[in-house]
């Protein structure tokens, strides 16, 4: 980080916080503090929804994912527009008309207090566990890249987020999200332009796209259904839709965004904007990763992108295993570069046969590169590194810090921190809302002044911020962070989705059925998690189905309890 990077970084973050505090002034009642007085325009809510969903790990990991595995991850988002349409037609008008602060408050209107309490508890468990990881994920990557102590990075981000979230409530959270989203998009566009600028002069943008495609990095759609293939059109449409329904329909960190809308129409539009914009945005981020791949065809790439682990396997005691792998890797990347130049040359001469021959050599060399990188990763694990080590999260930031000019590095780091802050502020704000509205106000202090609940909301916000920072260090013990975040979510989302499906579509099911169904759903999910090897992506479906079937069974077995 050079002085200009620090200027850009601190300037960006200070602008975000100052603007957010300015927009959040006047949040002096509970309604304004938690729901912005239901005054937010659709575009602010829409950008806030997108910013809250896009955490730092999205930008760090997605680009690396594309570098390693191509663009097929984009299919994971194909179910999102379907979910947004369903939620706009169902959840948004229901929540608005119920005049609730939280999604779980609606469950008491529809079922009873115990169902609301259980859903609130499940949300607090799930979001409370993952909010620490939101801070920890970028902190650990920045720690490895720059040597910044992870607890210091976490503390700085945490204190900043807590200051503006406690002060201005959801209005500040939403407007800072808008700023953060704009910085994120600007930073990514600048990064892509810089990649194109850094390509060799004889390699055009179209050549770069062809080279990425020839290496299988532009595999955006796979129609073939395969249970073992996590990303194909069908898993994206079905699994992705269930996940998006759970996240945007049952998770207070998202529901609270669109509850702040001026009207039902504004809230619907705030959900439909991400339905339109999310896939192109993810496509763009993955495309950046594919172009980083092309950049590293012409510029020597390290065999392992995580510097500390790379140094570890270069130690004398590992040299005997390391040297032959490194030699194979070196040969393969030289062959790949020569074949890539031959492809470019053949394309410029419009020589189809020469291009086809060069593509065959290029793909062969790429297999050699991949094999050597895999052997290198295995050696890292053998040498005492993380089991199942992958360097995906380090590829993009390694490129940024090594090759981008002063100022742009600061901008990209600002993007990472902005993404962390936008996600965590939304999470902390929603945790505080559920703690105060669904637990404190409902069960401990039913009649108090508005000022009392406003103070309680601020205290709860500060508590959850401190909790997130304090427990972020547990991320160290959870292995792959992106997987940990997804597993934590999948352990709880299925039963939450199930109870809201019951609430919206099964009018005859009563509170006892819903409550027992949720308990059964959670039991089924944890049983699947502990006793089977079923992928966590299916936990949402399992939980949802078990909640619904159990509730219907309870309804059938105890007809005298049903409301008639």
């Amino acid at each position: 980080m050079r002085p200009l990077d620090w200027v850009v970084l601190t300037g960006s973050l200070a602008t975000i916080v100052a603007y957010g505090l300015y927009r959040g002034r006047g949040s002096n009642t509970v309604d304004r503090y938690l729901l912005a007085g239901k005054s937010m325009p659709w575009y602010a809510m829409a950008l806030s929804i997108m910013a809250t969903q896009a955490s730092a790990i999205t930008f760090i990991s997605t680009t690396g994912q594309s570098y390693v595995d191509g663009m097929r991850f984009v299919q994971f988002y194909f179910g999102l527009p379907l979910a947004m349409v369903i939620l706009s037609a169902t959840a948004v008008p229901i929540f608005h008309r119920a005049k609730v602060y939280t999604a779980y408050e609606y469950l008491e209107n529809r079922f009873d207090a115990k169902t609301r309490a259980l859903a609130s508890f499940i949300f607090l468990m799930q979001r409370g566990l993952s909010v620490g990881l939101t801070f920890y994920a970028p902190a650990i990557v920045l720690s490895v890249i720059f040597g910044w102590p992870d607890h210091v990075t976490t503390l700085i981000m945490g204190v900043t987020v807590v200051i503006y979230t406690v002060t201005g409530g959801i209005r500040t959270v939403t407007w800072t999200d808008v700023q953060q989203m704009m910085i994120i998009m600007f930073g990514l566009v600048v990064a892509l332009i810089m990649i194109f600028v850094l390509l060799p002069r004889e390699v055009s943008i179209l050549d770069a796209i062809h080279l990425a495609g020839a290496a299988g990095k532009l595999n955006a759609v796979t129609f073939k259904f395969d249970w073992n293939d996590r990303y194909n059109l069908w898993s994206g449409l079905i699994g992705g839709m269930f996940l998006a329904l759970s996240y945007f329909g049952c998770d207070q960190s998202q529901v609270q965004r669109y509850l702040t809308g001026k009207s039902i129409a504004q809230s619907k539009l705030s959900l439909l904007f991400p339905a339109v914009a999310k896939i192109p945005m993810q496509f763009f981020i993955l495309f950046i990763g594919a172009m980083v791949f092309v950049f590293y065809i012409f510029t020597p790439a390290p065999m392992v992108f995580q510097r500390a682990e790379y140094s570890r396997i270069q130690q004398p005691q590992w040299r005997q295993q390391y040297d032959p792998i490194a030699a194979r890797y070196q040969t393969a990347i030289e062959q790949r570069k020569a074949a890539a130049m031959a492809i470019v040359d053949a394309r410029h001469r419009h020589d189809a046969q020469a291009e086809a021959e060069a593509v065959t050599r290029y793909r062969g060399a790429q297999k050699g590169v991949d094999a050597a990188r895999m052997e290198g990763a295995r050696l890292v694990s053998s040498a005492g590194g993380e089991k199942g080590f992958r360097d995906t999260n380090y590829i993009f930031l390694s490129f940024v810090t090594k090759y981008l000019p002063a100022g742009v590095v600061g901008l990209v780091i600002a993007v990472i921190l902005a993404a962390t802050m936008s996600s965590s502020s939304g999470e902390i704000n929603s945790l505080a809302t559920v703690s105060v509205v669904d637990i404190y106000k409902r069960h401990f202090r039913k009649q108090a002044s508005d000022r009392h609940y406003l103070t309680a909301s601020r205290v709860a916000t500060a508590f959850w911020g401190a909790y997130a920072v304090a427990f972020s260090g547990f991320g160290k013990h959870l292995g792959s962070l992106i997987e940990a975040v997804n597993i934590v979510g999948s352990l709880f989302y299925g039963s939450l989705l199930g109870v809201f499906v019951l609430a919206f579509f099964f009018r005859r099911v009563n509170g006892t059925g819903a409550f027992v169904g949720m308990l059964a759903g959670e039991a089924a999910i944890f049983a699947a998690f502990i006793f089977t090897n079923i992928s966590f992506l299916w936990f949402n479906v399992i939980g949802c189905v078990v909640v619904i079937t159990t509730a219907l069974a309870v309804e059938l077995l105890s007809p005298q309890l049903a409301p008639h």
């Binding site: 194909f78 037609a89 532009l218 955006a220 129609f223 039902i264 619907k268 539009l269």
Partner: protein, 38 residues
């Protein structure tokens, strides 16, 4: 709270249909992109 009409296309079902058609077109574009460059 009454449900207002959307600012364009007249009714919400038309908006929802437009989003789904857009999704189909996006998938088609992604498929053509894959075919063109792989």
């Amino acid at each position: 709270m009454p449900d207002e009409p959307p600012p364009f296309l007249g009714t919400w079902p038309r908006i929802y249909a437009a989003v789904i058609i857009y999704l189909v077109l996006l998938i088609a574009v992604c498929y053509l992109f894959t075919r063109a460059f792989s």
